[in-house]
């Protein structure tokens, strides 16, 4: 038994070493974010490995969501927000003004705390991203709508009412619809901001299961304050506290053997 465990750990370590070799999908260097006079994110350095789930863990208000939204520059929408430093997606700088931000954002699908379906039918929600990319072929669109709804295990529940408003779905179904909608534009990265916080345990579990499935093809960044969720899903964990990255790395090592008192305290409570 002990042997198996050791083997598991060591195989993960080897995996880790292999991952280190690969260039990260996203690299954050010296990121500082200010809101008015508050220093929200302090000198963040991060590497997001490909096709893994990276979890940003930390208490509410520690800057996890701000960090996530900096990655696809949704911070642009907030007044008095200032960003310094560098974030690159496969070597392409995101923070440079004047870059084609729409196409950069398309590479990073967002799943927010509360689902926000678009004010249109279920099918049109999934088709929206395709249509704005210029896809006009109806069969192709119908095909992709079906494919992505199946991908998030929603097809069976909605196939007879694709033309009904998305708002008629339950909140758990809406969240899966938002996931399907995001996947339809073929992103590289999925940014998920506490995507299960508004959901019941069964819907939450479905989302978690889908993440484990999706990480085969996508890089996922998940923000959560739930330690157990982090433990279930993380391949790479980043612990944040008051705008700083306190510890990061392999979650097994991180959670079993925290180096700092802050993380120890957090793990004891959580």
């Amino acid at each position: 038994m002990t042997n198996t465990k050791n083997t598991l750990v060591s195989s993960e370590l080897i995996n880790d070493l292999i991952q280190e070799e690969k260039p990260p999908v996203i690299e954050v260097k010296g990121l500082n974010v200010y809101h008015a006079k508050n220093h929200i994110l302090k000198n963040i350095h991060l590497k997001i490995p490909e096709k893994q789930i990276t979890v940003f863990l930390g208490p509410s208000g520690c800057g996890k969501t701000t960090l996530l939204k900096s990655l696809n520059r949704l911070t642009d929408l907030h007044s008095k927000m200032q960003i310094e430093g560098s974030i690159s997606l496969r070597g392409q700088e995101i923070l440079t003004k004047g870059n084609d931000i729409a196409s950069l954002r398309r590479k990073m699908g967002l799943l927010s705390q509360r689902p926000f379906p678009l004010p249109m039918s279920i099918a049109e929600n999934v088709a929206f991203g395709l249509r704005i990319q210029g896809v006009k072929n109806k069969t192709e669109i119908a095909h992709k709508v079906e494919f992505h709804l199946k991908q998030v295990a929603l097809w069976g529940e909605v196939k007879d009412r694709l033309r009904t408003p998305a708002s008629s779905l339950s909140i758990g179904q809406q969240q899966r619809l938002c996931l399907a909608r995001g996947l339809a534009v073929n992103p590289e990265v999925i940014l998920a901001d506490e995507p299960t916080s508004a959901l019941d345990p069964i819907s939450s579990r479905k989302i978690e299961e889908q993440f484990l499935e999706l990480k085969k093809d996508y890089t996922i960044i998940l923000v959560t304050h739930i330690f157990r969720q982090a433990k279930r899903l993380a391949d790479n964990a980043v612990f944040m506290y008051f705008g700083e990255v306190i510890e990061q790395g392999n979650p097994v090592a991180l959670f079993q053997n925290p180096q700092t008192d802050i993380l120890k305290d957090y793990l004891n409570v959580g």
Binding site: N72, A102, F116, L118, M120, P165
Partner: protein, 284 residues
């Protein structure tokens, strides 16, 4: 014995209910009075004929000139105002989303413009007409009323659009939508019932306004056949007839008021129906 809280509850309920019912009763009474005085004077000729010789002394003729004039003016002005208001309301909420102080300055200015009395718009329109050599005409009336109702339309649309949750904006951008696509393909759809209401609010204000068209659209006994001809309007028709000492003419003023009220009622019901029809996809 009733406690202080119970007395408070009863008092509050009584107070709010009495004001609400009182106001509705007053409104119904006004409409009842107008209908009572106006219906007897209302005739088919009144609706289908323009004023003939001696109309203003109680002889034959109708107010078709004012009905058609008001309709042209209100449709023209509210359409023009809509074309200005929608892009501006979207601009305020989407392009300026990051600039709260600029947004607030614009809103403040628009609220000021909303509060300016229509006669001032009339005087302003008149001054512009003189400077560009435009005569009293339907066109001048449309332009002036457009100025008058634009702030109302913009702010009404703005209030609807600013209440859209920011998450929808983020969702749109995350799918790679541009600001244009977010504006017209997402926000427009989400705000559509409110936008329809804003349009009809402007229409109602435009068709009911007297002072702004007094010098600009003027008044005529004929149905205007081009934008450059003067146009009669219902509120002015009411005003002129009500100032007459002759009882038959006074009664016709009430009949014209009935026509105006029916038009506004029809527009309000239409706006409800349209808004309801467009609200099925709305995200709450």
């Amino acid at each position: 014995m009733a406690s202080k809280k119970q007395i408070e509850e009863v008092f509050f309920k009584w107070l709010s209910a009495s004001f609400t019912y009182g106001l509705v009763a007053l409104l119904l009474f006004i409409i009842y009075e107008i209908f009572l005085k106006g219906i007897p004077a209302l005739s088919w000729q009144m609706l289908t004929d323009v004023p003939q010789g001696g109309f203003y002394f109680g002889k034959e003729g109708g107010i078709l000139n004012a009905i058609v004039g008001s309709f042209y003016l209100a449709v023209g002005a509210s359409s023009l105002a809509f074309c200005i208001s929608l892009p501006m309301a979207l601009f305020l909420n989407i392009v300026l989303v990051k600039y709260k102080s600029v947004q607030n300055t614009f809103r403040f200015i628009l609220d000021l413009l909303w509060g300016i009395p229509p006669i001032v718009y009339g005087a302003f329109g008149f001054a512009i007409m003189i400077s560009i050599g435009l005569q009293t005409s339907l066109l001048a009336g449309i332009i002036t009323v457009t100025f008058l109702i634009s702030p109302i339309m913009i702010r009404s649309m703005d209030e609807v659009i600013r209440n859209i949750p920011p998450g929808l904006l983020e969702a749109g951008y995350s799918l790679g939508a541009t600001r244009f696509e977010v504006s017209f393909k997402i926000f427009f759809k989400q705000a559509l019932p409110g936008i329809v209401t804003a349009f009809l609010l402007g229409f109602g204000k435009g068709i009911g306004d007297t002072a702004s068209v007094l010098f600009t659209a003027g008044f005529t006994d004929y149905v205007p056949e081009s934008l450059m001809e003067p146009a009669a309007t219902l509120p002015l028709a009411i005003f002129f007839q009500l100032s007459s000492p002759i009882p038959e003419v006074k009664a016709r003023a009430y009949a014209a008021a009935v026509v105006l009220i029916v038009i506004i009622l029809f527009v309000s019901i239409l706006s409800r129906v349209i808004a309801h029809r467009f609200s099925k996809n709305i995200i709450k």
